[in-house]
């Protein structure tokens, strides 16, 4: 499948019967596969493009460092492009890519643990990478700091549900956990945050519509 060609011809389809795009046109015999897949592919690429800012936001929330988030999303996208052909068409593309990123993050985390044993990393320069909310946003800073105190599996579930607005089923799919486990982690994570932050709620909050 010729991905490059698809990118350069995002609107390509058969409807116009342009000889240059027609699969059986002699000039295009070797492009037949690309032309056939092009009906689906550009829309998939557009769909992926929509997910990229979300992936980046989540990666940043997880890693709290732009360079690391950038690197994780970059690796995720490359892997998604490589595995695109193995994916079932009607599946949820966003959850699928988030699952790729989750797996990548988890396996990198294992390796980082190993690496940090052998090469201590000086992370003093990471402090300015933390989003620096203004004084008015001191409360956001508190929330972020409290979030850091959650075990990682709870933090992941709270973030996926809260900032990415994934459904509980999607979160279970992404983290490869039973939905009961996800609900459990969500409940524990939120309750722990409440204990750390206290009950005071900003005035913007509304309980009843």
């Amino acid at each position: 499948m010729n991905l490059l060609w698809l990118v350069r011809n995002p609107g390509a389809h058969f409807a116009g019967r342009t000889p240059a795009l027609h699969p059986t046109h002699p000039a295009n015999m070797d492009r037949q596969v690309a032309v056939t897949t092009s009906v689906v592919m550009p829309s998939v690429l557009t769909e992926i493009e929509v997910v990229i800012p979300q992936l980046y936001r989540y990666a940043f929330a997880l890693l709290r460092n732009r360079a690391d988030a950038d690197d994780l999303v970059n690796a995720t996208l490359l892997r998604a492009l490589d595995k695109l052909h193995t994916r079932q068409e009607e599946g949820n593309l966003r959850a699928w890519i988030f699952a790729i990123m989750h797996n990548l993050h988890v396996s990198r985390r294992h390796r980082a643990q190993y690496r940090s044993e052998s090469f201590p990393i000086d992370d003093a320069d990471n402090t300015d990478m933390v989003p620096a909310p203004k004084e008015a946003h001191a409360r956001l800073e508190d929330v972020v700091r409290a979030l850091d105190r959650l075990p990682e599996d709870q933090r992941i579930v709270v973030l996926l549900v809260s900032i990415e607005d994934l459904s509980y089923a999607e979160t279970a799919y992404v983290t490869n956990a039973p939905i009961g486990t996800v609900m459990h982690q969500l409940a524990y994570g939120r309750e722990r945050l409440r204990q750390l932050l206290g009950d005071e709620t900003p005035p913007a909050l509304r309980l009843v519509k």
Partner: protein, 265 residues
């Protein structure tokens, strides 16, 4: 009524926070919250958390994305890599078929430096095993992790020295199993591992004809990366679809286990 049939659960409270309740259920939960101030306090606190987290990390999407995340660039990069890969696969097939012919020799000179020492041949054997067995989704290994002891015993007999699979779970690779591999220099052991993404890593072990130690050497392949080294007359090769720097870190774990006498004694 509905609350009696379906009492309000913890899950309902979270669904309330996340806006995932159907209208009539939402009304029921709101009624429950009016009667249960402690639950109402929790839902309020969780909702505030949710909003605060969204506000705190909106930063990720406000700025323009780095160019490294430009999808068109990534696709183009991948296409180029893939073209190179298919060429390389074609080349190695040609190489296998026509080692004697001129074409074979030209390609051979390009892909593998002339066999100055056995380590290059070891690297070729390891690469061939990786390409054939790591790609096998159904039966990558002959004996799985449940038969580790049988596997170690079998390979030890065939390699004529005690051999055991390295443990790579610390670096995120689970043991898939292993097998005996035939090479021109006799029997070799292949151990296969898989990470959470299904990416595979192989550790290849074979006795060398020369007893000279060799430092770690890069195995020249495109999409996959590998390295090989020789310690006390035994050759090792680690191959995975990882960037070379990353792979070297993984290989060091294997090497350390070799040095500790955990793999070959």
């Amino acid at each position: 009524m509905t609350e009696l049939e379906h009492p309000i659960s913890e899950e309902d409270l979270h669904c309330m926070v996340d806006g995932r309740l159907a209208e009539n259920r939402r009304v029921a939960v709101e009624r429950h919250l009016r009667l249960h101030p402690e639950d109402a306090r929790r839902v309020a606190a969780y909702t505030a958390q949710r909003e605060a987290l969204q506000a705190a990390f909106a930063v990720g999407v406000e700025r323009p994305l780095p160019s490294s995340l430009n999808l068109a660039h990534l696709v183009e990069y991948r296409v180029r890599a893939r073209r190179r890969t298919s060429w390389q696969i074609a080349a190695s097939i040609l190489l296998a078929l026509s080692t004697g012919s001129a074409v074979g020799w030209i390609l051979r000179a390009n892909l593998f430096p002339p066999a100055a020492s056995g380590i290059h041949e070891l690297a070729q054997d390891a690469t061939a095993s990786y390409l054939v067995y790591a790609a096998d989704r159904r039966h990558p290994a002959e004996l799985g992790p449940a038969q580790s002891r049988d596997l170690a015993h079998w390979l030890s007999v065939r390699l004529n020295r005690p051999v055991a699979p390295p443990n790579l779970s610390i670096i995120g690779y689970d043991f898939l199993g292993g097998r005996l591999v035939a090479t021109r220099r006799g029997a070799a052991a292949l151990f296969l591992y898989q990470d959470a993404l299904g990416e595979r890593l192989s550790v290849f072990v074979r006795a060398m004809t020369s007893l000279r130690d060799m430092p770690m050497l890069k195995v020249p392949m495109d999409n996959i990366n590998g390295c090989a080294w020789v310690q006390k007359g035994v050759g090792y090769s680690v191959i995975a679809e990882e960037p070379y720097d990353e792979l070297l870190g993984l290989a060091q774990v294997v090497r350390r286990q070799v040095e500790a006498g955990e793999i070959v004694r």
